[in-house]
């Protein structure tokens, strides 16, 4: 199994490199270090979100509310920044992460305590969170000139040649890597997804593990919420609308099995990077950005066909209830 995983990630790396080199024939500037750093910067938020989603999918769940969660947290910190310009940015960052975790915990609690299928729960909270943005902001936008300079500066600040936003993504990847490969919690995410019954016998509280997974996804969404709003310097109701599907797409392309229990940090990250490279390559080689959607759709389909060859449809699809005792 392990060699198979390696195999899949190597294939992804090859695909990404081939894409980048292919594009560079048309436009040599594309693989300059500066341009590559730009692509990574553009993809940073997607990478972080994909890692959060991966943890949820590993436990045989799915979180469709991540983008709405992100937008709500972003709007809240933007409004806080406008109302109280004195609050230091690190505190706002903490507030965003805390609020995101709380929203994730709502999802998790409904899944854990009431045993409602995750897809139904997050479908509901997706619309509720989106609606709440409208309610708290009164339907208005928060524009760049209303935000303080410090608020907008954080994701753009450069450190050792790359932006702080990229450093955030690198830090999140590092934390997830340690969590998933070195910590008991990471192992219990895998165990819950691979075989919930066996996990229960091994002393893992499956429901609680799912709850924690939703909290983790929520925290990442909240953190990304601040970064997204600060980077684009505008907050409105439809921020990151439809982005939840990009997140899932990144996971699927990265080899995370929708049936749970299979997926790696490197895979999810590469899946996100693949989408990032495609999105950045299109304008460079003169293809209309309107092609982007169809291409990522095709990439998802190809990835899932490719994944299934290695996986052989083990067990249930995600809609099926995990066989807990």
């Amino acid at each position: 199994m392990k060699t198979l995983m390696k195999y899949r990630e190597i294939w992804l790396v090859v695909a990404i490199l081939a894409l980048a080199v292919g594009v560079s024939f048309r436009s040599p500037g594309f693989i300059q270090p500066k341009s590559l750093a730009n692509i990574f910067n553009d993809t940073s938020i997607l990478i972080m979100l994909a890692l959060g989603q991966m943890v949820v999918i590993l436990t045989r769940s799915i979180d469709l509310s991540m983008a709405a969660n992100l937008a709500l947290c972003g709007m809240v910190v933007a409004l806080l920044n406008v109302a109280f310009p004195g609050i230091p940015v690190p505190l706002l960052l903490l507030a965003a992460a805390a609020l995101g975790t709380a929203l994730g915990a709502v999802n998790g609690a409904l899944v854990w305590r009431l045993d409602i299928p995750p897809i139904v729960v997050t479908l509901g909270t997706l619309t509720i969170y989106r609606g709440m943005i409208y309610v708290i902001a009164g339907g208005s936008w928060v524009n760049a000139h209303q935000m303080t300079e410090a608020f907008k500066a954080v994701p753009r600040t450069e450190l050792f040649g790359i932006t702080l936003l990229s450093w955030f993504a690198i830090a999140v990847v590092a934390v997830f890597f340690v969590l998933m490969t070195r910590a008991p919690l990471g192992r219990s995410f895998y165990a819950t997804g691979i075989n919930p019954t066996a996990a229960t016998y091994a002393g893992i509280d499956v429901g609680r593990t799912r709850f924690i997974a939703f909290c983790v996804a929520g925290m990442v969404s909240g953190l990304s919420g601040y970064l997204w709003i600060a980077r684009y310097a505008v907050a409105y109701v439809d921020v990151a609308g439809g982005f939840e599907l990009n997140i899932i797409a990144a996971c699927v392309i990265g080899g995370v099995s929708i049936a749970g229990g299979i997926g790696t940090v490197a895979g999810a990250m590469l899946g996100a990077l693949f989408l990032g490279v495609v999105n950045n390559a299109l304008p460079v080689i003169g293809i209309s950005p309107f092609w982007q959607m169809a291409i990522s759709g095709t990439a998802i389909l190809l990835a899932v066909i490719f994944n299934s060859r290695g996986e052989r449809r083990r067990g249930r699809i995600i809609l099926k209830r995990a066989e807990v005792l």
Binding site: P117, G124, G139, L245, I248, A249, V304, K320, R321
Partner: protein
């Protein structure tokens, strides 16, 4: 299950052991629809008190336009979800079908051709999903997330940020015409389709097989049910209904943009789940879905009359979805204690 093994022993005083297995299930289903009906009536009464414009034949007729297109898809989606699969690409199928119809208009297509193109596109898209899911044995949720991007992506490629207009005058009937008095063509079509789907799901072998697949796919396979073929047909049906919805919606709006029907897949699934169809497959009824469609129509229309913005309505819809699912579960948990 347990009632079979427990039967010979003396029954515990407070717990009745049924002599027929499907009794509790049927009564539960019945009570679910009763609950929905009560909810629908309460919303109806609240609406008529809240706004003086509500209780009026034409207002109520306008109300039906709110949900008939989504409800048409929900009928087929219900069957698909009962069989244990899902289709997230329905709204994108609408976008692609509508775009191709708009494209045909540019080449001077007449009304019958347009309808054929719309419905045909839906069918082809549905079949494409079906082949990927049943032929290649891929999980439907990922496949349809992929085709969701692909289908809408194709209509973005064709249209860009443009718009197709100039549909022939006769074409407007499907989305704007009335069959008699206040009964719109859309609504009449929905009622007829609901009757057909009710018949198919609840009184044919095909319907029983859908339930069998949803409850235990392996057992169904061993009982001689052609699981793959039935699922394929259901994907085609869902595509077909999306194509029909595309014709109605395009005709009603009179124009096509690639962002048409954005987010409808979630509303359709909300409708189905609200209607008591188990998202895990194997249980549900058409009457529940029909009542749920009315509830969603009533909520959005009633709030609209009160000048509540659409985005705030979505809070109500989301909360309604979770509440209606959670309430019976909480009730059962409380009773067990």
């Amino acid at each position: 299950m347990s009632s079979l093994t427990d039967a010979p022993e003396a029954p515990v005083a407070h717990r009745q052991i049924p002599d027929r297995l499907d009794n509790p299930l049927r009564s539960a289903l019945l009570s679910w629809e009763t609950l929905l009906l009560v909810v629908a009536m309460v919303i109806f009464i609240v609406n008529s008190f809240a706004s003086p414009y509500f209780l009026n034949a034409w207002s109520l007729s306008d109300l039906t336009f709110n949900f008939t297109e989504k409800a048409l898809i929900a009928l087929a989606m219900a069957l698909l979800i009962i069989s244990g699969e899902i289709d997230l690409s329905v709204a994108s199928i609408i976008a692609l079908a509508s775009t191709l119809m708009g494209l045909a208009v540019q080449y001077g297509a007449d009304t019958p051709t347009l309808v054929g193109i719309g419905v045909g596109t839906g069918l082809v898209c549905g079949a494409f999903n079906g082949i990927l899911v049943t032929g290649l044995k891929l999980p439907s949720i990922v496949v349809t997330i992929g085709t969701m991007s692909l289908f809408r992506g194709l209509s973005f490629i064709i249209l860009g940020d443009g718009v197709f207009k100039g549909y022939p005058p006769g074409f407007a009937f499907f989305g704007q015409g009335y069959v008699s008095w206040v009964i719109s063509f859309e609504f009449a079509l929905f009622l007829a389709a609901a009757a057909v789907y009710h018949g198919v799901l609840h009184s044919t072998n095909f319907g029983r097989r859908i339930f069998a697949i949803g409850n235990n796919q392996v057992a169904a396979q061993f009982s001689g049910v052609r699981v793959g073929r039935i699922k394929f047909v259901l994907f085609c049906l869902t595509g077909l209904m999306s194509g029909i919805a595309a014709v109605l919606l395009t005709s009603r709006l009179g124009s096509t943009r690639p962002s048409i029907a954005q987010g409808w897949e979630l509303e359709v699934i909300t409708m189905v789940v609200l209607g008591g169809v188990s998202i895990l497959g194997g249980a549900g009824s058409i009457s529940g879905v029909v009542i749920a469609a009315f509830i969603m129509g009533l909520v959005t229309f009633g709030l609209g009359l009160l000048n509540v913005p659409g985005i705030v309505m979505s809070i109500f819809i989301g909360a309604l979805l979770i509440l209606v699912i959670a309430l019976p579960i909480v009730y059962r948990m409380v009773r067990r204690r």
